[in-house]
Each structure stands twice: as C-alpha cells, then as structure tokens.
C-alpha cells in the first residue's frame, strides 16, 4: 500500500507522517496542496498499487474539495479507486457533510489526529 499525505501545515505533516510510520510501517509521500497531489498521481503513482490519501481541506493553490473534484475525473479515466481520509481543523458541519457525500471519502476526521482514535479508524476500514 502507498500512502499520500496532502497537507500544507508542516506540523500537521509531521504528526500524520509519524503516526502512519509507527502504525503501518509505511513511509508516506508528503505533498503540500491538491495540485501537487494530482501531479504526483499522474506522474509518479502506479495505478495498480493500493492507495490511501490523507487529505486536508484548507490549503493554498488547490484545497481538498477542489482536489476531490479533479480526482473523480482522474479515477474515471484511469480506473483506480484510492481510499481517502479527510482531515481538518474545521468544525463546520457543512464541511463534514460535503466530505461524507463524496464516495471516495471513507471518513471525515476532525483534527487533532491522535493515536488511539486513528488506530480505530484504520481498523474500521481494514487499513491496520
């Protein structure tokens, strides 16, 4: 499995990365916005590999929701289906509803990302 972290805040990048390394043993790829994530998907990622994306919402250049729109076109064309966990400091229910309405999103996780809660979520989706 390949893991991609799409996050602009360096502290949150570090936290997510450390937790994932500790829990899954996989070293994630880190990009800082949706555009970079798309670029990575098109240029570097092998579509046959199972992919987990940890996606922040509020980012410069291209935010999480804009990325999801672009991604749905990409998945249709390339016929691959990544699993997505959305992460945000937002406590606005509209963001949560919008995230849950997207079929690619497994779960909307309210930050802070903490070890115990994260393990449960990974287990729930057979990722741990």
């Amino acid at each position: 499995m390949v893991i991609l972290i799409v996050e602009d805040n360096p502290i949150d990048q570090l936290i997510t990365k450390k937790l994932l390394v500790n829990l899954t043993g996989i070293t994630p790829v880190v990009v800082t916005n949706g555009k970079e994530a798309l670029h990575w998907l098109q240029e570097t990622h092998n579509n046959k590999q199972k992919l987990l994306i940890l996606l922040d919402i509020k980012m410069p250049v291209m935010d999480g929701f804009e990325f999801l729109e672009e991604l749905s076109e990409l998945t249709l064309k390339a016929n691959f289906k990544p699993a997505i966990l959305m992460l945000s400091s937002s406590i606005d229910t509209r963001d949560k509803e919008k995230a849950n309405a997207n079929t690619l999103v497994l779960e909307f996780i309210e930050k802070p990302l903490q070890k115990e809660g994260f393990i449960e979520i990974l287990k729930k989706h057979n990722l741990y």
Binding site: P10, I15, K18, N22, K58, D92, K111, P112, Q114
Partner: protein, 474 residues
C-alpha cells in the same frame, strides 16, 4: 437635500395644479352664482316694472271712461311702482348711497334684500356690451313713462273739471295705447337681452367647470404618477438593501468560518504534537517539538491580533489630517526594525510627494502591513535585500509603492492574495489575514491597491489614495 424635501419639491407641481384648479372652480362658481342671482333679480325687477307700466296704462285707460276715484288710485299706485324702478336705475347709475337706493326699491315695489345683487351686478358688469344694451333700452323707455305720467295728469285735470268729452277721451286712449305698445316692444327686447345673458353665463359655466375639472384631474394624475414612481424607487432601495444585507451575511459567514478554522488550527496542531510526545517521545526530538509548539502559539497570537485590528479598522472613523510622509515611514520602520530579517534589509525612500492630507491612521495600518510583509518575505539569498518606498502625486490621486526584491509570489497565488484568510505559505508566520485587512482598509480610504510580482524576483504593491485639497476634516 433630504429625500422627503426632494419628494415635496417634485410633487409641488401636481399639488399646485390641484389647488389652482380647485381655487378656480371656487372663484368661478362664486361669480357664476352671483351673476345668476343678479340676472334673476333683474328679470324679477323687470317683470314687476313691466307689470306696473302695463297696469298703469290699463288703469289710466279705464279711468278715462269710468272716472272712478278707485281706478285713478290703482293707476297712481302702479305708476309709482314704475317710477320707483326708474328712479332706482338713475340713482344706481349716479352712484347714490344705500339708503336712497333702498327708498327707491321700496317705491318700485321691489324686495330690499335684493339690493346687494343689483349693486354687485352693476359694479361688475358696467361698461360691458350687454349692460350698455340694457341701459340703452331703459333710457328708451324712460321718456315713454314720462309721457304716460303727463298724459295721466292731463286726463285727471280734465275729469276733475268735467271737461272730458267722449272724443277727447278716445284721442287720449289712442295715445295711451301707442305708448303701451312701444313699452311692450322695449320690454320684450329687455327680456331677450337678459335671457341671452343667462344662457351665455350657463354656457361659460359649463365650459369653465369642465376645464377646471380637467386641471384637477391632470394634477391628481401627476400626483398619482409621482407616488407610483416613489413607491417603485422605495421598492428598488429595499431590494438593494436586502441584497447588501445578504452579501454582508455571506461575508460574515465566511469570516466566522475562517476565524473558527484558523483559530483552531494551531490548537489542533499542538494537541497532535502533545499526543505524539505522550506515546513515542524521543528525547532528541523534544527541542524540535517545543519549537513547533512555540511557532503554533506565535501564529495564533498573530492571528488574534490581526482579527482585532481588522475589527477595529472597520469601526474606525475617517479623519483626514496633514501627513509628513517621511516621518510616518520613519515611525513605522522604527517599530519593525528589530527583527533579524529587518536588520539585513536596506530601506530606500524616494518621496516626490512628502506633505499631503490623508486618513493617517489607516495609512499607517496599510503601510505597516505592507512593509512587514516585505520584510517577512525578503530573500536572504539575495546579495542585498532592498525595500523601496515611493510616493508621488498624479492628477487627483496619490500613488505610493512598496517594492521589494524578495521571494516573490507565484502567478497562481497572485489572484488569491487579497482574499480573506488566504496564505500562500504556512511555513511563514503570516496567516493570510494581512493583505485582506490591507485591501479592506484601502477601500475604506476610498483608494485602490494593486500587486505585481515575479516569483523569486520580488513584489511591488501599488496604493492609489485620494488627494485632498483645502481644509477637509472628514
């Protein structure tokens, strides 16, 4: 001008028309009633006068043959009525006083109450063609009445002295009948004249009333149109206010969303870090974690300050005061000078315009933010980081630029830099509120802001604010 006054002014024409129309109707109707009453009085008088003349002729004729005292009395009485009327006319024309006029009216067997009508009609229509016609007819009748009177006197003396033969009675009778015939002709002419006046009054009344009603309807119509226009305007204003309110709500919604997110973000970062430290703490990493916590807190502190200054700026009253631009810049640079980055930068001032009037408080907020940004985004890899501030007057505006040779902004970020809570780079301490505040403040100053930037080369911000002449205080 307040809207209500403006409204009154716009409506004054229609209100004037309605008032004028009403006033004309009232005045005209007053004259019509007075004229009609006058004509009626004259017709009545004429009828009484004609009867008296006729009767006196008839009784004189009867007296010629019956020689009865009572017939003579009847003749005298009727003759007095006719003479009284004649006297009244003469006195009216010669401008006699009210008492004399009343005496004459009583003598002529007319109603004293009608005196006002006679006088009014006479005063208002003397000199008019029809009045002259009437007077002419009366004057034509006067000698006939005198002739009748003289004839009566002669008959009376003859009868008293028993000197009236059958033949001379017949001769007198012929004279009396002749006078009576002429009087009858005059009376018909007089009646015709009066009824003609009556008809023309009626016609004028009809036309004039129609015209005045048209004026009133037109005025009322205009008033109605103004009211409809005013209502339409109010509706438009209401719609605009509603739209503005919706925009404001949207803005507020965005504000609350961003503030809640951005205030929470540093907290969630720290909570995440603390959780990480709790479970897998590598002592070597502790200083790095602490630094990160410190940065997060710093970021939140900055953010709170910026939100506050944004809120304060919104409510700040605009005060246009004289500005010494050079001094203002020195004050700002003194405040910013202490950071490590600032100490490496050379600040250059190229001030073509130094003394002007402006909203100094807001200008300081804007320039502080812009210069702080320039310092923050300076490029340490450059041989000499420079920030250049220029000022000049162009037509009726002041143009101020803040130019740096810093890290610059990528084209894709440029269009978003002024939007609320956007930050191109989280690794910096900026949290995206700065340029939004700057833009908002510049707009409060009735100015404009523009940005030009090349990635890795530098950024130029251009401010355009109004140039104030004379003594302006607000």
């Amino acid at each position: 001008m307040p809207p209500s006054l403006h409204f009154i002014k716009r409506n004054s024409l229609s209100i004037l028309l309605v008032s004028l129309g009403s006033l004309l109707v009232v005045i005209f109707n007053y004259y019509t009633i007075k004229t009609t009453s006058g004509v009626r009085t004259y017709i009545n008088a004429e009828s009484t006068f004609a009867k008296a003349q006729k009767n006196s002729a008839i009784y004189l004729l009867a007296y010629l043959y019956d020689n009865e005292e009572s017939t003579w009395e009847l003749y005298k009485k009727n003759l007095d009525y006719a003479i009284g009327t004649r006297e009244f006319r003469v006195k009216l024309l010669s401008g006699a006083d009210e008492h004399q006029l009343k005496q004459a009216l009583i003598k002529g067997h007319h109603r004293v109450e009608d005196l006002d009508n006679y006088v009014w009609f006479y005063k208002n229509f003397k000199g008019q063609a029809f009045y002259n016609d009437l007077t002419e007819l009366v004057e034509r009748g006067n000698p006939l009445l005198t002739a009748l009177e003289k004839l009566g006197e002669k008959v009376r003396i003859r009868i008293k002295n028993n000197q009236l033969s059958k033949n001379s009675a017949d001769a007198y009778a012929t004279d009396i009948l002749e006078i009576n015939k002429e009087l009858t002709v005059i009376q018909y002419l007089f009646s015709d004249e009066l009824s003609q006046i009556s008809r023309s009054v009626e016609k004028t009344l009809f036309i004039a009333n129609g015209l005045f009603v048209l004026i009133i309807v037109f005025g009322g119509g205009l008033y109605f149109i103004f009211i409809i226009n005013k209502l339409n305007k109010s509706e438009e204003n209401l719609k605009k206010s509603y739209n503005d309110l919706q925009l404001a709500n949207l803005e507020l919604d965005k504000f609350v969303y961003s503030v809640s997110h951005d205030l929470r973000a540093p907290i969630t970062s720290i909570m995440g870090l603390v959780d990480l430290m709790k479970h897998d703490l590598n002592p070597d990493e502790l200083p790095e974690y602490l630094k990160m916590i410190e940065e997060s807190l710093q970021r939140q502190d900055d953010y709170i300050k910026k939100v506050l200054s944004y809120s304060k700026n919104k409510r700040l009253e605009s005060k246009i005061v004289p500005v010494n631009f050079n001094e203002l810049l020195d004050e700002i640079l003194n405040d910013l000078r202490f950071s490590k980055k600032a100490q490496q930068i050379e600040f250059v001032k190229e001030l073509e315009l130094n003394a002007f009037k402006a909203d100094k408080v807001r200008l300081r907020i804007v320039l502080s933010n812009l210069i702080a940004n320039a310092i923050e985004h300076s490029d340490e890899t450059k041989e000499k980081p420079i920030v250049t501030i220029t000022s000049k007057k162009q037509k009726e505006v002041i143009i101020i630029t803040v130019k740096d040779n810093g890290i610059g902004i990528k084209q894709e970020h440029l269009e978003k830099v002024f939007s609320m809570f956007y930050s191109g780079n989280h690794s910096q301490t900026g949290v995206g509120l700065g340029l939004y505040i700057v833009k908002d403040t510049v707009e409060n100053m009735k100015g404009e802001i523009g940005i030009d930037s090349t990635y890795q080369k530098g950024t130029t911000i251009t401010l355009t604010i109004p140039y104030y002449n004379g003594n302006i205080n607000s």
